[in-house]
Symmetry: D2
Subunit: 425 residues, 4 copies
């Protein structure tokens, strides 16, 4: 359980931090302004030049595809990534998390990261050539299409989208929502989850299939807001699939393997999300410290009030503990595999978003009204962190899973509760 950052990580951290200082923070204003200008010009759903320019710089500096864990052999000959372990990449994701849109600059943003890894691991050579390559190059984007509006999708057996075999094709019918990234005009492919085998047992009903976003019958219906933010031009979209027909070869790994793929996919994605949230919380704490130091009320800086200090201290404790637990989960995944680490992954999925919501909320409160508006990144950060208490399953589902694993420790040996003191054992 060695949480030290490797020399490779430290070197990348240093370069990434420098890139943030030199290019990302200074571009925050321009990023915001470009979205506003696009909106005013009636082209809200347009990729941002600010980001495209920065992507070139990141590529030049080798800060590209840092998340990508595979070597070229595994990736079908596509040599692209830094080959970092989860534990090595985690502290880099934390840094990117400090500015929410910066991950894309490094081609490290969800859901592309998970989709790239999914195609690399489970796709055919053709899939890799067609989709993985341009994704790794940053030329296209992608979506992961699972959640449905009409059912509680945290219970995947509720999923109603059908993927039906029809000769050499599959025909897809269903409605999905919260499909992040599908608002971007560059989004070229969706990985769609649906039922091929509704009569099969619980874990083999589902399959995943690659659907070009321009296939007939794919309709992006509307963007969904997250507490008022539509996250344009990325977007969280509601999508209808109506008699969408794709070649049978588009299926990933085979019919009924959807769950299996989802399991493999989720671990790294959660590490990324959690580390970004930790970076986001760090930034909120930094802003809180700076603001309360400068802001004077009733004769002294707000930072000198013990009520402020209590929150700063609790924030520091919560952030540091969440980071240690996430690093532990990453380390376990690297050492023993995603499956072995499933409890730790569930734990960080609960801990990190709740921690971030709390820390950001304290920072907002310290900012007063300024904390609610977009002059500072706090309100948007809150909305994003809050969303992650549902995304990939709500807290409650993860907590139940953690509890069941805990209870299982004692289930094997149904001894009475030891009553050690007056009652003997």
């Amino acid at each position: 359980m060695d949480f030290d950052y490797s020399p490779k990580t430290k070197e990348l951290q240093a370069r990434l931090l420098q890139f943030m200082d030199e290019h990302i923070y200074p571009a925050e204003g321009a990023h915001h302004a470009e979205v506003e200008a696009n909106t005013a010009a009636g082209k809200r759903w347009t990729p941002l030049q600010t980001i495209e320019n920065l992507k070139l710089k990141a590529q030049e500096q080798g800060l590209w595809n840092l998340f990508y864990p595979l070597d070229s052999a595994q990736a079908g000959g596509i040599n692209a990534g830094a080959g970092l372990t989860n534990q090595e990449y985690a502290p880099l994701a934390e840094i990117m998390g400090r500015v929410m849109w910066s991950s894309e600059v490094f081609n490290c943003s969800a859901p592309d990261t998970g989709n790239m890894e999914t195609i690399a691991r489970y796709g055919s050579t053709e899939h890799k050539q067609q989709w993985l390559k341009p994704l790794l190059e940053g030329n296209i984007r992608s979506a992961f299409s699972m959640t449905e509006p009409d059912v509680a999708s945290s219970d995947a057996t509720n999923i109603e989208t059908r993927i039906e075999r029809d000769g050499d094709d599959y025909v897809i019918n269903g409605r999905k929502w919260w499909i992040s990234g599908a608002g971007d005009p560059r989004c070229a492919v969706h990985i769609v989850m649906g039922k091929t085998n509704p009569e099969s047992d619980r874990h083999t009903q589902q399959s995943m299939i690659l659907v070009p976003s321009n296939a007939p019958g794919v309709t992006v219906l509307r963007p969904l807001n997250v507490m008022g933010y539509d996250d344009a031009p990325h977007g969280h979209m509601e999508i209808s699939y109506k008699n969408v027909c794709v070649p049978a070869s588009n299926i990933l790994l085979g019919e009924g393997r959807g769950f299996e793929i989802a399991q493999g996919r989720l671990g790294p994605g959660r590490i990324h999300h959690c580390m970004r949230l930790i970076g986001l919380a760090e930034r909120a704490l930094e802003l809180m410290c700076k603001r309360t130091t400068q802001r004077v009320a009733f004769g002294k800086p707000i930072a000198s009030q013990t009520v402020t200090q209590e929150r700063i201290a609790e924030a520091r404790c919560k952030i540091d503990m969440a980071r240690l637990l996430t690093l532990k989960a990453a380390w376990m995944m690297d050492v023993a595999g995603n499956k072995f680490a499933k409890n730790e992954i569930a734990m960080i999925k609960v801990v990190a978003p709740n921690m971030a919501c709390q820390v950001i909320d304290w920072a907002m409160q310290a900012f007063g009204g300024a904390g609610m508006c977009d002059d500072f990144p706090l309100a948007y950060a809150y909305a994003s962190a809050r969303t992650l208490r549902f995304a990939d399953g709500p807290d409650e589902v993860h907590r139940n899973a953690i509890a069941k694993l805990e209870l299982r420790k004692y289930a094997a040996k149904p001894q009475p509760v030891d009553m050690p003191i007056t009652r003997g054992c």
Copy 2:
């Protein structure tokens, strides 16, 4: 301490509930659609026809100016309101709070309500004729201009806007933000708070003055978002006052009386805000109950999970307690005056927004992703409730005030802490 609703209140409650059922809930979709259509048409900051139509209906049914506590003699001969006490109006505000935009339909929305009461109480006959009359008629709207971006405005001595006498005029210079309602093109007048006497003692530095919104030098700079909501066409605006010149007679009550007016103004406004929040929380709880009853995960309705039931029960307890405390504050104001009730008013100002945030957050969590978007009113409700943890002063300032009143009980008699048991007294 009789919290029973009077016959007059009960009759109005019944009519208001019926109006909500018949006219408000059915118009929620149209309201949302009109804002969207206006935005698409490039006229986001335009009054909504949906509301204007409903205002006529409300006027017809006598559900108009229900908040207005004064009789016509007090109001300079303008006979307008229902003459309800705070306690009588409170349960009506609760009902309006269930749909956040509905207060305007009844001409009961902030900041107009507070402004009308302020002008009625402290304005001259001319002020009343010019501004109060059209406000009571719903023909113009108004803004209350106090908070400043550059200082911690919760400490009013920080206010930097200057109101300087210049012959028969006052000249106003300063920058304000979070000026709610100033985005509406009908907003005709601002009540501006600033310093006339910066050298005077703490509580007589400030004055309030009426400033026509079209006076030269008044510039609405931009709307501010609350989380991602700009609340158009009402809006929360940043405003610059640059050498704005108004007749000296526009001052309210006289130089240095700003604090005094603010005190008188705040009590009823807080009752209204808190009761609306209680209504909002009731609606969130209702939505949560309905949704979790229908939504099935892992084989049973979410409502049958004890984790859901715990939250529903806590929500019920919190809402009912907040309502009782608010009714008590209203009753005290009616019986003994705003000043006497200041502790209770501070208490509800802390309790109600925090309660509403918690209840709405639980409801959002029960809704999953749907809770974050605008298909349901929860995310916007959360943003609104969260804002009220700063508006009119952050929680922390109110808690300090409550604590100081509590500590004062024991300050007069500096006895040692009684050590009742082994140490004697």
Copy 3:
């Protein structure tokens, strides 16, 4: 919903407060010392002379049986009580709650109060003569014997004690624990709950029966601690009933009526408990204010730290809200009956102990080490309040009941969740 204290209540409040000042607070040291001295003398389970002396004074001043709601006709000709409603008695219980042992001084302590009311309402003339009269006179004490060690007694169907008819007698077998007051040598009678009809439906299996504490087969096994407190000489005892034989006439109301009696009994008892907890919390807050005003750390009184002020303010809010809700429950019971008020009774049962635990915990923290020991009443107060989160059913059971009543509001009309904005209704 008039929460004003009646003139009768106000007059009794004034006299009770004076009695507290003159007799109770000054006796706290003596009470503690007498228990210590008794313990040292090997007679820990002996009634306290301190209390006996004060009882005479309370009787002299007419501060006796204040809880007793019945008039003499209802009470079988025994004229004893103040005839107060629940709402009238509640504020008196609050005052008594400030010193945990003081209720007994006024013959208002649990479980005697509930037992007296139970016998008065459901007992025969003989029962009243034999047990109610000496209880009202304060000459004997009593116990209520329901909870069992071997089952989760919050689900009363789990109860295993048997009450079996045998000719003219009932024979009782079972084991009970947490039987409060059974440690007192004056405890003369137990009301025992057990199953007469185990095959009957859920709510008619149980009966209640009067069992003299000296009946053969009744064995008090041991006292149980509450945290480290045994509450001597009152005590919370584990008791074995082994072939205990009592006349069939000892049954209350008849076989299978146990639930019915329990329901009628619980309402007033919960009001008393909750109001005493509110008094206890008020005292903790008072101690906290006094202590932090006097105690200086790092150059200023602890009371001047905003972290202290936050807690004092929150305590004030929580206490006042809990009191209002309890008064509402009492008022509903008086106006509409225990059954009608069952939701409010469940709510205060959850709210008051949790509130008291929190307030007392804050006070303890402000006291430092002193808060944990018995020089001050805080640690014992905490233990007592904490216990009331289980007594009469754990929080979780009550919250489930509240939630089910809330959910029921929407169950009758299984309409879809209204989706008011984009989705229509």
Copy 4:
């Protein structure tokens, strides 16, 4: 930052776990019974034979002085300990924490551990011979005498005890309380903190001096309870020092060095306390899982309720995070010294007791009444964990220290809060 347990640690863990299974858990009943029997026999403050017997076994197995970090050269030729680092010892302390009295069995109990380390580091050869040797052998016990009843001792400048030079002696006058272990008749020496130089600057006023417990003028006044528990025969005592005269050579390190010694002492002690609390919380969680699995209410095991599962999951997250943070603090102390790790030490001092209180409280709630009494170790565990929220300084003092270190990061560079989005930097 390698948190892996070393082979030496793993081997000791295995042996210690076996010892717990074979000797400690089976002796819990006997330990409790011996205290009860001693109490009944009028000798409550007598060392327990149960523990003495187990000490022999622990010595035989080499599970003795595991905490002791020094080698024999450093320890004045006394070869005694395992020479473990903080990180190596931490997981062993966790195991001991599962049964609160078991540390003594391994000669690893506070305050002896801290006192041994203090004498080893700062004592003279004579001090070591006289006190360290018998302490390491387990033949005597010791006390650390710092906290005072009359002042807020968390601010050490408040300390009023005087240590005054008088020829070849020092004369000590003062009153202390919460002196743990001073109730044990084997307690032979107190390390007393007091002011030698009250006029000196804040950090050089205090000294520490060795005072034999049988020196004339040392009077143990009384034991103090912790939520009703007196912790006999260990005890937390109030002590008077009246003209206590000891040789000048008894001073540790020299006049005015008290703070310096306290700093060095506190780090390891906090690691021990926190790890024991983690063990205690683990045991509470284990009991909670077992109990709720077996206990059936309303037709199913309490463990199958999601409200139970939420708490079990949160407990698992909180425990694991607290452990990781404590291991990090231990690692930092080992690698970089106590001073460097002071922030992490403050953090665990806040985190671990609060975590333990919460986990134990949930377990108590799951146990119902049984959780409050001494049939199970939960109530006593709660009292102990709660006490550690004050011991060594209250949470609030530590949180302030953490916050100040956090704020200091930004103090050096008094830049404006970056306003990255619309406002530029």
